[in-house]
Each structure stands twice: as C-alpha cells, then as structure tokens.
Symmetry: C2
Subunit: 186 residues, 2 copies
C-alpha cells in the first residue's frame, strides 16, 4: 500500500510519515485529551474543550469551545442543550466516521459520502435508582451506515469492520475503560 | 426523604412524581436517544441531534442541533471542530454532573457550584494499527471534582459516589455496552 497525496481530504503521505515516526519513537503516539465542566443550574451544565497533550508537547493554541448540555422538560430540564447520552452518540458517530475514512483512505479507497444514524436504548429505572437489576448505562446501541463509493457491498462491510476495529470511542464503549473520580485537592 | 419544590433548580416534586409513575408503568422509563452523522471531508464530520423516544411517545419538537468534529493538524485535520474523543469526555462530564446534582437535590443537599476536569490517556498506536497490544480506546480517564456546598468532605465524597452509581455515560464506559454496526438497507 503506497497511496500518494490527498485521498478523501486525508493527507495520506503525512499519515504514513507519522506512522514511521511513531515506530521510531512510540512516545509520539501518547496523547492526553481534556475537558472541563461547570454546572449552571438544575440539569443544565457546560463542558469546555481547549488544550491537549500529544506528539511530545502541550497544545493550547486552539480557542476554548463550550458545549451546553441539558435535559428536555420530560426529564426535568429546559432544553438548554442536548443531553449527555446524546453527546455520547455524537462522539461515537464522529469517531467511527473518522476511523472509516482514514483507514479507507490509507488503502486508496475513494469515498464520495458517508452517512450514519445511531439509536441507543436507555431504561431510566437505572438512573433513578428504581431497580438495581436494570443497567444504568446504554443497554444497546444500533448503528446504520450508508457509504457512497464504488466499492462492492462486501468491501463496504469491510470498511465498517475497519471503523469498528480502529475507533477509540467505539472501543472505549464496547471494551470499557477505567475511570477514576475524586475530589480536587485544594 | 420528602424534599419539596425546587432544589438546585431541580423540580424535586416532579422527580418523585415521575418515579411513582414509573413504578406503576415501567415502560415510561424506556427511552431511545438518537443521532445522525454526515462526513464532510478528511477528518471533518458533523453530528446532528434532534428527536428521541421516551415516556411512551416520540419527541421531535426540538430543533436539530449540529456538532462539528475534526482533528487538529497534528492528527491530519484542520481544527474545524473538537475531536470525537474530546466529545466523549464532554458527554461524561455532563452526565456525572447531572447525576450528582439530581441525586443530591433529591436528598435535599443544597449546592452552590460544581466544577470538574477530565483527562484521558490515548495511545494512537491502537488507532493507527501499529500495535495489536495497545488498547484502541482510552486507557484511563481521570476526573477531579470541586463541589461548593456546606456538606463535609465525607459527604462530598458520597455525592461523587452517587454520581458514579447513577450516571448512564459513566456506566456505559466503565461497564461497556453492546454496539451493533451494519450497512443501511436501501
């Protein structure tokens, strides 16, 4: 596989160069992503993303971006934002799409368009503490992809499998990750 | 526990009423949350959240909200949005904060402020397919809460434990969830 230049808007030359650099020094591949959150009132809070660490240095050149989160009235909010479990689906959608496009591009597969839809089942008896037997998190998430490309149906299925194999958010959700929560030391 | 009226902006009367209704008919608690995604170019894609199903009916009264996702230049993007793994941290931040505030409110604990910060470790050798041994998803996520309330440190630690116990996003990540991905039937 030696694709050259831009494929689907991905600089494949740079991608392979990065892979070679990481093979020489694996520390380049170690990233720390960050966010902060501030509660506003009731079910309304605001997340912020700004800096990250990666490729051996801290990057705080990006402006801060804020994300309002709130619940609909049926869940005691005022719709001052979409809710956190919806943001989780958005994160998953972006990650699978990026993984699909990046890995297809590396293989030289030209893509005209990618669309996908997401639906997750949540039983609020978990969140509300009504039943200990009901899972608190999503019980199942279903995803449907439409890929506009000259590839065959079998190749499209392979592209979806690559997306699942290489997507960090997909793998965090399906394989779980340890999350440590504590009080800030003041 | 019989708190009345609004606590921390949460209508606790309505919360307890909802719990009673769900105890009578558990189907009220069954929600389906949804998102769609459209690829733009390269590592840039756009998620959209609009309708959901819950409390026995479909809600499509909310306007569509879009979320741009992209990578920084070091990850072959143009910063046309924050990236999917950052959105995952935002989702986690909103969910833990909402769970903390809702359950504290139900117990009558008054809160003046809640802030939290998130950091997740990601080794891109997984995403890039350089090493099969490296996890593709987050290796660890660390969270630090600052809670402004008259409660003691022990009570604040209990509030954090409640947030962890009842947050759907936290439990989806730490306990995993099945995700089914397929081609749309045309």
């Amino acid at each position: 596989m030696t694709q050259k230049g831009m494929v689907n808007g991905i600089d494949v030359d740079q991608l392979f160069k990065t892979i070679e650099q990481i093979k020489e020094n694996s520390k380049i591949a170690f990233f720390k992503f960050r966010a902060t959150n501030q509660w506003v009132s009731g079910t309304h809070c605001r997340g912020t993303v700004k800096d990250f660490y990666g490729a051996l240095e801290n990057d705080d050149t990006r402006p801060a971006v804020t994300y309002d989160m709130d619940e609909p009235p049926i869940l005691l909010g005022n719709n001052d934002g979409r809710n956190p479990v919806e943001y989780l689906l958005v994160a998953l959608s972006g990650c699978l799409t990026t993984a699909l496009v990046a890995h297809s591009s590396a293989k030289g597969i030209k893509i005209n368009g990618v669309r996908s839809r997401y639906e997750g089942d949540l039983d609020l008896r978990g969140f509300l503490g009504i039943s200990e037997e009901v899972p608190v998190g999503y019980q199942e998430i279903r995803i449907f992809f439409t890929i506009d490309t000259e590839a065959t149906v079998e190749q499209k299925k392979e592209m979806i499998k690559m997306a699942q194999k290489y997507s960090p958010v997909y793998n965090t959700i399906t394989k779980s990750a340890p999350v440590k929560v504590q009080l800030e030391k003041n």
